[in-house]
Symmetry: C2
Subunit: 219 residues, 2 copies
C-alpha cells in the first residue's frame, strides 16, 4: 500500500495531510488496493458499497447502458479523484451506475464511515480529512449541477456550447482539450454521435469554433 502514498498525498481527500498521517490512516482504515484492466468494471450498477474509492492511476467512466445498448456517461474520473462516496451513507440504496476502466487503472478503497463515526476526531488528520471529504463531495455536487445545466439545454448546439464554454472557463483558455472522443462526448451529452458530429461541423462553418480531434478552440 505504501507505494500509493505519493499519489494519495496529491489527492484532494488527503490534501494537507502529512505522509506519516496518511500512513497511519491507511492502516487504521484498512485501506486496500486493486488494479483493473482497460474495459473492466470497477463497480456494477445495483451493487452495495461500503467503501470510498480513490483513483490512483488510469481513467474511469461512470456510465450506464440500457437494454438497447445506448450508453450514457455520467462523468469521468481522473487520478486523485474520489468516487462512490455518495452511496456509502445509504444502507438501502444500491449503485445507480457502472464504473468502468477506460484505461488500465488502480483504485484504493477504504472505509470512510470510520472517519466519520469513530470519536477520534481529536486527531488532526481526522478533522482535515472530514473537511476535505465535505469539500470534495460538494465539488462533485457542483459538477453534477453543471452537467444538468448542459443536459437541460434543448438543442444539441446549445448543449455543446454550454459544455465547451465551461471547459474553456475551467482550463482558463479558449483553446483546450476534452477528455472524450466523439462517441464518448455524445454519450456524455445524451445525443446521437452522427448528429452531434454534424452539428460541430456546422458550428465550425458558422465561425463559432475550431477543432481537431479532442482539441477545441472557441472563437
Amino acid at each position: 500500500m505504501e507505494q500509493f502514498i505519493p499519489i494519495l498525498k496529491k489527492s484532494k481527500l488527503f490534501s494537507g495531510v502529512r505522509d506519516d498521517e496518511i500512513s497511519s490512516m491507511l492502516s487504521c482504515l484498512g485501506a486496500s488496493f486493486r488494479e483493473y484492466k482497460k474495459g473492466e468494471f470497477v463497480l456494477r450498477q445495483g451493487e452495495r458499497l461500503s467503501s470510498i474509492l480513490v483513483l490512483a492511476e488510469g481513467n474511469l467512466h461512470i456510465q450506464n447502458d440500457d437494454y438497447w445498448g445506448n450508453r450514457s456517461i455520467l462523468g469521468e474520473i481522473s487520478p486523485g479523484e474520489m468516487f462512490g462516496e455518495a452511496f456509502v451513507t445509504s444502507e438501502s440504496e444500491t449503485l445507480l451506475n457502472d464504473v468502468a476502466a477506460v484505461t488500465d487503472s488502480a483504485v484504493v478503497s477504504f472505509d470512510v464511515k470510520r472517519v466519520l463515526t469513530t470519536c477520534s476526531s481529536a486527531c488532526r488528520f481526522h478533522t482535515i480529512v472530514v473537511q476535505n471529504l465535505f469539500c470534495e463531495i460538494s465539488e462533485k455536487n457542483r459538477k453534477l449541477v453543471r452537467k444538468l445545466g448542459y443536459m437541460s439545454k434543448r438543442t444539441t448546439r446549445e448543449k455543446l456550447i454550454s459544455y465547451l464554454s465551461e471547459q474553456a472557463k475551467k482550463q482558463n483558455s479558449a483553446s483546450f482539450s476534452i477528455p472524450f472522443n466523439r462517441q464518448q462526448l455524445a454519450d456524455f451529452l445524451s445525443v446521437d454521435r452522427s448528429a452531434m458530429s454534424n452539428e460541430l461541423c456546422k458550428m465550425r462553418d458558422d465561425g463559432l469554433i475550431l477543432f481537431e480531434r479532442n482539441r477545441f478552440t472557441l472563437l
Copy 2:
C-alpha cells in the same frame, strides 16, 4: 429563533440532536431566519454563499431562466431539507441557479463552516451534525444522479416513465402524487409542456398510466 426548534429537530441535519443541543448550536453558529413571499427569490444565480440554509416551511424551487424565458427546474425543496450546502466550500464559485419561493416560505441559515472548522468536535452534537451533513449531501448527490438518469433518456416518453417509476418506488405505491404541475414537470424534465401533455395522454391511451392533475397511477 426558538420557535423553529421543533421544525429543525425534524430536519435531517439535526436528526438525533436533542432540543437543548440544537438551542446551543443555534446561538453558537449565529443562526438567522427570514421569511419569503410566494415568488420571491431566496438566492440568485451568481451570488456567493457562506451559509447553509434549511427550509423551515413552504416550498422552494431551484431553477434557472435563460434569456428567452425558458425555465429549467433543477429540483424542489421541501420543509426540513437543507440547500446551498454545495456552494459554501468554494471561495471562487458562485451559485449556478436561482432559488425561488413557490409558496410563502421560511428559511433558517447558519454558518456550517464553523461546524467543520472549529476543533470542538468533542461535543456530541458536532459529531452527529457532521455525520448528518455528510448523509444529506450524499443524498442530494444521489438525487442529482437520479435526475441525470431521467434527463439522459432520449424521448419524452422515456423521461416520463423513468421519472414516474422512481416516484412510485420512492412513495412505495403505484399510485402517488408529484410535487409539480404540468408546466413545472416539463421544466423539470426539460421538455415542452404541450408535447409532454400530449405524450402523457398517449401513454394513458396505451394503457401505461392513469392520471388526474398531479396524481398518477402506473399500470
